[in-house]
């Protein structure tokens, strides 16, 4: 999946994923019979035929969403490690006598159609009884008959369908989390049933109060209601009592304290009234409070997702297996596949073109271009020769290499980087909930009001003093207040998701609504993330010859030049001489005929060409202009004289400047933070209208993290990035935003993921966050207004339990309506999605 410039792409769509097909892979007309099938990569081809062989062609009729399109990936692994006894012991559970079950993490799952495909596995693979996929976690539970099929066979089949398999990690963590989910849901159900039944009995009592009721009947109904309240408060409601108790012991206050006071006072007073056989009871309100507050908690719990840890992040970046050469084997021998965990320092590993290095080490044989973008963020490939150090996660672009392993797994540089991500996310500051900040004043206000009420009524009618104070405490219970924040966030997160902005938790919105420093990565975030030829000066007849020569190389720069000067006319033949990381030299014939005259060309960087050819004055000026613009000059020399100069650059995305201006207008202070060359970064800053002091280039992943820490000392800090090298900074920032097309590690480390291309989505995000916080504030104001109104009724002594029972759901309902009816993320898009 190398980024290919758009003009290298044909107008055919890949039969599997629907993305454009590169010209080089487009089939000639009629080659494959009637129906032409083109594929963007070999992964998609494998998956397409695997799906059709299994009779699952309906997959393509299911109408997948355009946003979700991505090329398929298959690995051809044998998955023998899944048959290992140690794996079976820790991951596989027995189901009945013959069946086993396992949870597998599937890479590449993104939509409902994937689920359809994966869950059809029992139909195509005999012995598999059941597959159920949890779409949110990308984890499939597979049940199979051990005598009829083996786990590696199942894994290979899933792989061939485009879903490489990894054992689900952290089973313990997942289990405890699931247990907690179930406990919360059970509590919610019990509280709901008690609240509903208490309300039914309350209706009967109110009916009796108006039309008369036998005392024994009233006693029965009040007694049963009391039982409901006791069950509710000391059953599901225990969480509030425990929360309040620990807060009081710690000498702090949060919203559990007024809740606990209201629950205990209401239940106690009600129990006394039932025993006395006279006085009002508020059991329906008490049970409703418990239920509604638990609803709020449950929503909040479901919003937050647990952070991924370093080991899991490594999955997405390094292969799970490597081909190890037997000890004593020749360097050109074929390796045997082993799990990466089995690699030890000193082992020799074979890596082919297009594969990712499994471990850190030293090159022993082979010379190839490497894409270091994962580690450095630099988009240009680097050619490395034997003896040089290479790192895990680096992509080998061309040729076969052999490396001697020095460090593996979390020991590798990439592993260290991922541990940095984990540590950074642990250090993220915790936000004190807005409602908890209000708690102190809230408690003071209600207790004072209750005391005043008691005092007032002890003069007016001493018999009703306690009654009215209790009524006030119950009716001011911060019920809608508990719902105000989670509901508003929940509604906004749902709306944002429909607009291509995926937010991992409500807290993030609260942070993003502020004002502070906005750190922007350059490559891929503000720019298109791939090189393009922007100017060409000199002898244009050289074009096809240059293209023919560049076709021999797989570098991003070569591809950009090929995209501009190609396609290569038929008959052109190139014979490359020296190929270096900074240039290529060789001869090109325009046709195969003997009399055709070859042109001897050298294409490369300024320094590389200067060392072998002259540069005339008029090109010196062009080079200076290109350098001034922050772009990279590429010189073309023919027989020791420069004949043309072109410039390569990674152009800014459309609308990037407007987006940065809008963010500044919102009060953010944008700063560039890039791993790219400082001169390039400065040039981009200039184009964006940013101060050059606000841009920093040549920043390592570790330095990005330090920059976030430094910025955080001055206030709120938001980081926007796309690469693995941004991951640590993304997780440490108050808000981390990963942009469309970013590496999986950055998506997981970030709080927000934009599934819609373009930096404009960041503006939508910031504006939406502000509107959401406005909704939260409005919700809080409304629920407080209800409390004040109800407190007024209680002080005036006109509050009946019926009022309390009506006001409480009414205030909650208002909050729900306000949350779901407010416009947060659905305002008209500022930057319409570019047509593809």
């Amino acid at each position: 999946m190398i980024n290919v410039s758009s003009s290298l792409l044909s107008d055919l769509a890949c039969a599997h994923c629907g993305l454009p097909v590169p010209c080089a892979l487009a089939p000639a007309a009629g080659q494959e019979g009637e129906r032409l099938q083109a594929f963007c990569c070999s992964g998609c081809r494998t998956v397409y035929f695997a799906i059709h062989e299994d009779g699952l062609g309906r997959f393509y009729d299911l109408g997948r969403e355009l946003d979700e399109r991505q090329p398929a990936r298959t690995t051809d692994r044998a998955y023998t490690e899944l048959d290992d006894p140690s794996f079976t012991e820790t991951h596989v559970e027995a189901v009945g006598e013959r069946h086993s079950a396992v949870e597998l993490y599937l890479e590449g799952v993104h939509c409902a159609s994937c689920m359809w495909l994966i869950e059809r596995l029992p139909r195509v693979l005999e012995g598999v009884t059941e597959v159920s996929l949890d779409l949110r976690r990308s984890v499939a539970r597979v049940v199979w008959d051990q005598q009829r099929v083996s786990l590696p066979q199942i894994a290979r089949r899933l792989d061939r369908l485009g879903y490489p398999v990894h054992p689900a990690k952290h089973l313990d963590l997942a289990r405890t989390r699931r247990a907690e989910d179930r406990r919360q849901l059970a509590r919610l159900g019990i509280a709901g049933a008690l609240a509903g039944n208490a309300m039914l009995f309350a209706f009967a009592l109110w009916g009796g109060a108006f039309s008369g009721m036998a005392e024994s009947h009233a006693l029965l109904l009040r007694g049963v209601s009391l039982a409901f309240a006791l069950l509710s408060v000391f059953g599901p409601g225990r969480v509030f009592l425990a929360g309040a108790w620990s807060a009081v012991r710690a000498g702090t206050l949060h919203m559990d304290v007024p809740v606990a006071v209201a629950l205990l006072v209401g239940t106690g007073w009600g129990a006394a009234n039932v025993a006395r056989g006279t006085g009002e009871v508020y059991f329906e309100s008490i049970t409703a409070v418990v239920f509604l507050l638990l609803v709020g908690r449950w929503i909040q719990h479901r919003q937050t997702r647990s952070a991924n840890d370093a080991v899991e992040l490594l999955y997405s970046l390094t292969p799970s297996t490597a081909r190890r050469l037997e000890s004593g084997a020749e360097l050109h021998a074929r390796g045997t596949e082993v799990p990466v965990a089995a690699l030890a320092p000193g082992d020799r590993v074979e890596v082919l073109a297009g594969e990712t290095l499994p471990a850190d080490g030293r090159l022993l044989a082979g010379r190839a271009g490497f894409d270091l973008a994962t580690l450095t963020g630099e988009s240009r490939p680097v050619v490395l020769s034997p003896g040089e150090e290479v790192h895990a996660g680096t992509l080998c672009l061309d040729g076969r290499v052999v490396l001697e392993v020095s460090r593996t797994g979390v020991e590798s540089r990439l592993g260290q980087l991922m541990q940095l991500v984990e540590r950074a996310s642990a250090e993220k500051p915790k936000l004190v909930q807005r409602t908890d900040r209000m708690a102190k004043r809230f408690v003071a206000a209600t207790l004072t009001a209750a005391a005043l009420t008691a005092l007032l009524w002890s003069f007016l009618d001493p018999a009703r003093a306690v009654e009215q104070a209790v009524a006030l405490l119950i009716v001011t219970c911060p019920c809608a207040l508990g719902l105000a924040t989670p509901l508003a966030f929940q509604a906004a997160i749902g709306r944002a998701a429909r607009r291509g902005i995926l937010i991992k938790g409500g807290e993030v919105l609260e942070r993003l609504a502020g004002v502070g420093t906005l750190l922007l990565d350059k490559t891929g975030t503000l720019t298109e993330g791939r090189l393009r030829v922007t100017t060409f000066e000199g002898d244009e007849s050289v074009g096809p010859y240059v293209a023919a020569l560049e076709q021999q190389v797989a570098h991003g720069a070569a591809r950009a030049i090929l995209a501009e000067l190609g396609p290569v006319p038929p008959g052109f033949r190139a014979e490359p001489g020296e190929i270096a990381s900074t240039g290529i030299e060789g001869r090109v014939w325009p046709s195969a005929r003997a009399e055709a005259r070859a042109r001897e060309l050298a294409i490369g960087s300024e320094a590389w060409i200067r060392s072998r050819a002259e540069v005339p004055e008029r090109f010196e000026r062009a080079i200076a202009a290109i350098l001034l613009a922050g772009e990279s000059p590429v010189l073309i020399a023919e027989e020791r004289a420069t004949v043309a100069v072109l410039s390569l650059s990674d152009p800014l995305q459309k609308g990037a400047r407007e987006a940065v201006e809008q963010l500044e207008a919102l009060g953010w202070e944008p700063q560039l933070l890039s791993g790219d060359h400082p001169a390039t970064v400065a040039a981009v800053a200039l184009k964006l209208g940013l101060d050059s002091q606000e841009s920093r280039g040549g920043v390592s992943p570790e330095a990005k993290l330090d920059a976030v820490f430094a910025a955080r000392a001055n206030g709120l800090t938001v980081m926007v990035g796309d690469g693995v090298n941004d991951a640590a900074a993304l997780s440490a920032a108050d808000g981390g935003v990963a942009v469309h097309g970013g590496a999986e590690a950055s998506l997981r480390a970030a709080d927000v993921f934009l599934s819609r291309p373009g930096i404009g989505a960041v503006v939508d995000l910031m504006e939406g966050a502000r509107r959401t916080v406005d909704v939260v504030k409005r919700n809080l104001a409304v629920s407080l207004a209800y409390n004040v109104f109800a407190a007024g009724l209680a002080i005036a002594g006109v509050l009946h339990p019926l009022h309390a029972a009506a006001l409480m759901p009414l205030s909650s309902l208002t909050v729900v309506t306000l949350s779901y009816r407010s416009r947060t993320f659905d305002a008209e898009p500022r930057n319409p999605r570019p047509a593809r």
């Binding site: 299994d54 009779g55 299911l62 139909r123 179930r182 849901l185 019990i190």
Partner: protein, 56 residues
């Protein structure tokens, strides 16, 4: 109206039964994943005739 002494326990027993049923469904994991089933039901309308040969 003393029938109420019989009706209330019956009502409570019914409510208790449904609460118990809910708790059972939570414990058995039926409510663990609230998103995938919503999507899954959309897929079940395929013609079964085409798939039957595969199941043999």
């Amino acid at each position: 109206m003393d029938l109420i002494f019989l009706v209330v326990p019956i009502a409570l027993a019914l409510a208790g039964f449904f609460v118990f049923a809910f708790l059972w469904s939570v414990k058995s994991g039926q409510l663990d994943d609230l998103e995938s089933p919503a999507v899954r039901m959309l897929h079940d309308d395929e013609p079964s005739a085409r798939e039957t040969p595969d199941e043999s």
